[in-house]
Each structure stands twice: as structure tokens, then as C-alpha cells.
């Protein structure tokens, strides 16, 4: 079903206009089913993607293609209480999550 959201790729085009993900460590908050994660993770060095919804994280893991699996970690967590290393990331993404 994710493919029915933004098949035009407008969102990822805008994101790449604003952020250079090349070799960056990325924290994504509110990753949902990983729809956006799958679209930029190939450029990043490492992605930690959080969402408090376990079903969505399960879908995110299942739908992550093999070539980017090694660099993406999906975790069921809320940013309010997730254990995060200080100053560990160059980029953070808040997607519909404030």
C-alpha cells in the first residue's frame, strides 16, 4: 500500500533538495512503515528509524530491501524515552511527528 503514497516522488525530491544524506548518520523519528526511509537510506551511512507503533515497525522491517538492510535499524520507540547517544547524528528527520 505504501507505493500508493507519493508515487510521483515529490516528497523525496524536496527532501533531497534540502538535505545531503551522503555518508551521514540519520535519526528518523516517526518512521511509520518505513516508506520514506526506503527512499533515502541508500545514500546515508546509517539510519536509526523510530516509531512507537510495533505493527508499523514490523511492516517497515519486512519491506526494507536487502541492499539497505545492513545500514537501517528500525526500533519500536518513542523519542521521549528512546535511548540515544548524545551528538551521534548529523541529520534528524521528524515526519508528521511533532
Amino acid at each position: 500500500m505504501s507505493d500508493s503514497i507519493d508515487p510521483e516522488g515529490t516528497e523525496i525530491e524536496v527532501i533531497h533538495e534540502l538535505v545531503d544524506f551522503s555518508s551521514k548518520k540519520v535519526l528518523e523519528v516517526g518512521c511509520g512503515d518505513g516508506r520514506m526511509t526506503r527512499r533515502y537510506a541508500d545514500r546515508a551511512a546509517l539510519v536509526l528509524a523510530l516509531d512507537p507503533n510495533a505493527d508499523k515497525i514490523e511492516r517497515a522491517i519486512d519491506s526494507t530491501p536487502e541492499p539497505i538492510r545492513s545500514k537501517v535499524r528500525f526500533r519500536v520507540a518513542d523519542i521521549a524515552d528512546a535511548e540515544l547517544t548524545p551528538q551521534a547524528f548529523e541529520v534528524a528527520i521528524l515526519s508528521h511527528s511533532l
Binding site: 500500500m1 500508493s4 503514497i5 507519493d6 508515487p7 510521483e8 515529490t10 516528497e11 524536496v14 527532501i15 533538495e17 534540502l18 538535505v19 535519526l27 523519528v29 511509520g32 507503533n53 523519542i79 521521549a80 528512546a82 540515544l84 547517544t85 548524545p86 551528538q87 551521534a88 547524528f89 548529523e90 541529520v91 534528524a92 528527520i93 521528524l94 515526519s95 508528521h96 511527528s97 511533532l98
Partner: protein, 152 residues
């Protein structure tokens, strides 16, 4: 607010935060069919709009307090395509979204889609903001430039 501060803590001194959230407007509902676009109305989402405005207030506040500064902003429409209104309703329920449309709008969409191949499309206006992390005066933030912001 707490989320924005936690993210600040986990970002490197030169780090950036990309925030994506809908504009405080109702998403549009359209039927696309044989090269034509029929605009049928809007998704009722008063609750969402209130939450969006509150989220913006939180972002504005952390910026005024000197945690971040906006470096770039873009606006775009996020389009979601569904074979039918029922597929959209199923998606809404599965994702836990609360926006709804009137029965009349659903009936109009189904009438149009019954006449041939087409799509039920929801057009959501989005704001993307790029914010640069700033050192936090008064903390143990070792970022370069700490204390170098006049008036902060």
C-alpha cells in the same frame, strides 16, 4: 517540545533537523480519470489542523529559544492514490488517521469511478523545514560557537 530538545541532544554540533508536517489546511479529494481531474471536496480534519498549529507553535518556540534556526523551507503537495474510496478508508483505519469525508463525497467518487478506470486521490499540502542545530547557551553543549550568539 521535549522531542525537539531530545533530538537536539542527539544531533552533532553541525547537525540539521528536517521537519515535515502538513499545512494547517484540509486535504483535497479528487478523482483522476482518463486524463481529467474532478475535485470533489475536502477531508474533514479539524482535530488534525489544531494539532498541526500546536506543533508549529512548538517549533517556533524552540527556534525563539535558540535551539535551532530555519535554513530552508519548501512547500509541496503529497498525493496518495487509491483504487477506490473504500481502499482509502481502509488505509485511514489501518494507519490510525482520523480525517473523514462526507457520505455524499464518497458517493460522488464511487459514481465517477463506476464509469471506468480511475483513481481516488487525496492531495495533502506539506511544509518541509530544514533547521540547523544551534549550540544551547547555558548548557554543557560543547558545540563550537557556544556563547557566540548575540542576544541569545
Amino acid at each position: 517540545m521535549h522531542a525537539l530538545r531530545r533530538i537536539h541532544h542527539s544531533l552533532r554540533p553541525e547537525g540539521v533537523l528536517l521537519d515535515l508536517h502538513p499545512q494547517p489546511e484540509h486535504a483535497g479529494v479528487e478523482v483522476w480519470q482518463e486524463g481529467r481531474v474532478e475535485r470533489l471536496g475536502h477531508v474533514g480534519q479539524e482535530e488534525d489542523i489544531t494539532e498541526i498549529l500546536e506543533a508549529r507553535d512548538r517549533l517556533d518556540l524552540v527556534e525563539r529559544e535558540g535551539w535551532y534556526i530555519t535554513e530552508g523551507r519548501r512547500f509541496f503537495d503529497l498525493l496518495s492514490h487509491f483504487p477506490s474510496p473504500e481502499d482509502w478508508l481502509e488505509y485511514q483505519a489501518r494507519e490510525g488517521y482520523t480525517g473523514m469525508v462526507s457520505k455524499e463525497l464518497l458517493a460522488s467518487a464511487n459514481r465517477l469511478l463506476a464509469t471506468g478506470d480511475g483513481e481516488f486521490v487525496v492531495r495533502e499540502p506539506i511544509r518541509a523545514s530544514l533547521l540547523k542545530r544551534l549550540p544551547r547557551p547555558g548548557s554543557d553543549d560543547p558545540s563550537p560557537g557556544f556563547g557566540a550568539l548575540p542576544g541569545k
